[in-house]
Symmetry: C2
């Protein structure tokens, strides 16, 4: 690896833009085709409004110079950008990336590009990211959850763009919300565990300040215990960071709090993987000695040995619906509800 000098930024010939600048502009295409820029613009955007002959000349010229329109100029003059901003707690985890991929795919079909940000579960970070992105004058904005800072709400109000809030079902959505009931999901999983014979159920969940999903999931667990006539001990409810490792520590915490615990419900598959692995390390049989359930149903959940019992979230559907709603709101054709419940389901596998 000889430290040879880096190549110059300047393109090495090959392109024939008529001016000093390397990148072809619409003007260059127009000159080559012997028409004006409006005609080029029309040939590209509304080819049916241009004669066959002109269209062919323009297409040939576009090909010759490798012309791709400048989006900055386009959004400036047309007063609408092709950008949709999407903010998720993290892009790293499979649970969100399934939604992101669908969102991105669906928006791309209509020519919109996704500007992604990871908030690390921090609404101050969300505010910071949004203020950085808002300068793109996004055509739509996607955020996770329904709790935001005052400044974030101000920016969302003034952005003049449709907003979707994902992953929960707020009472008062900012604009349109697409999600599922976090409360009902943990409520039903707790009930399911009970119906399968488990009685001493601990709860591990991902906790960050001002996180509505965490609050709802914890409330669902508590409500179920109450309805079952069981008392919920605070030590059996363990807030944790969003890491596999944390799930391992969480399992130990539960076993310390109650050596006879027979089930650990996790508010995230990530924690469940950690809890499951720690159980195996401790020589416990799952589910005979301790049952474990997750939340999310990521690809890994069904592949583990034992396979993970979990809450299935329609991740792809949330992304797709969110994209469709954004597009329809831009077009002014959305007629659906302001809260879209995509539901969830309890998936029983081997671990409980």
């Amino acid at each position: 690896m000889a430290p040879k000098p880096p190549k110059s930024t300047a393109a090495a010939g090959a392109s024939p833009p008529s001016n000093g600048n390397q990148i072809a502009r619409m003007k260059d295409v127009a000159r080559l085709a012997g028409v004006t820029t409006m005609t080029v613009s029309r040939a590209l955007r509304t080819p049916e409004k241009v004669s066959e002959e002109t269209r062919l000349k323009v297409e040939e010229a576009v090909r010759r110079v490798g012309f791709i329109p400048n989006y900055a100029a386009r959004s400036l003059v047309s007063q609408r950008s092709q950008v949709v901003v999407a903010l998720f707690p993290t892009m790293m985890n499979s649970v969100f990336s399934g939604t992101i991929e669908e969102l991105s795919r669906e928006l791309a079909l209509s020519g919109y590009h996704l500007l992604l940000g990871g908030t690390d579960f921090d609404i101050d970070q969300e505010e910071k990211l949004l203020s950085g992105f808002i300068g793109w004058r996004p055509a739509g904005i996607v955020v996770t959850g329904s709790v935001h800072t005052v400044a974030t709400r101000h920016m969302l109000e003034n952005a003049n763009a449709p907003v979707t809030e994902l992953w929960s079902l707020p009472k008062k959505p900012f604009d349109v919300a697409v999600g599922f009931s976090n409360h009902d999901a943990t409520y039903q999983m707790t009930m399911s565990l009970h119906s399968w014979g488990y009685r001493r159920i601990g709860f591990l969940y991902v906790d960050y300040p001002r996180n509505d999903r965490a609050v709802d999931r914890k409330a669902g667990y508590r409500a179920a215990l109450r309805d079952l006539g069981l008392t919920s001990r605070p030590e059996m409810i363990v807030p944790l960071p969003f890491e596999i490792e944390a799930g391992r520590a969480g399992l130990r915490r539960i076993l310390e709090a109650d050596p006879d615990a027979d089930a650990v419900m996790c508010g995230s598959d990530t924690l469940a993987v950690g809890a499951l692995m720690e159980a195996l390390r401790l020589g416990l049989r799952v589910p005979q000695d301790i049952a474990i359930s997750g939340f999310g149903d990521v690809e890994l959940a069904r592949e583990l040995v034992p396979a993970l019992t979990t809450v299935r979230i329609p991740r792809a559907e949330i992304g797709r619906r969110s994209a469709q709603i954004i597009l329809q709101r831009i077009a002014g054709t959305y007629e659906g509800p302001s809260v879209v419940d995509c539901g969830f389901s309890i998936i029983r596998r081997e671990s409980a």
Copy 2:
């Protein structure tokens, strides 16, 4: 969930932009502060060139109207955008997301935003995505691997922006490459497995057409067997898609090809997780009955039971270095080599 009509896109008051448009422009700030737009621009970008008094007036006005500059206008006039395009095979897998996060973080510190695309390991898809993104006139471009279509190379040449190719060490990098030797990594892992006593080693790898990493990893495996005086049977080299499930099928294929196989080296942690789980399902002890190794060292690798022996790739470092090189190339200050080797290491854990 009553299907109530969606709220109007128009912001509900609260913002005082002087015209019909809801979003404040620099002109609105200028009027409020009693100066011209250039002074506002200067107060924002080069505050030291403006009087204390003016600066305070402008800052107050900016706050009052919630002004955020329009990036489209800014990039159009300054002839440089704040966008960096990055194309990865997939954004879903932890192996890439570690790099993406670092890249994003490092670029954000300098005010650049990342426009991300997932190519699904398909260089035609890469071409399509790039042609969609190039209209943003990116200030830098990051791609994975060193094999691209002719049209992609043309676009990269004419983009007038620094380009980094990640994840391999090409002989002739397009501009600057940041990666590691895929060949040497599988070569050394094969050698390591041999030194630990394994003799009948199969190889599972992620294969997509025209993928340089796959070719190099396979070549490394073959070279090691040759140097060890072992023959490599074609049935022991199994190309697979990039899924956990595929790793399970792969393990079975190896055991069919050689019932006495004692190790399976995987060209990806994703495949290794599948192979490991399938081995456990079949009642095999890992590593006593069959050893398994991965590639990537994702978070999950060290948490599994048994913990996964694997090749550690400096994922975050690749992202960081790549961002730094892009920034230095933009500034014209990069002096490093055109191929940056970030290395790798063999991590021995329980599975081999």
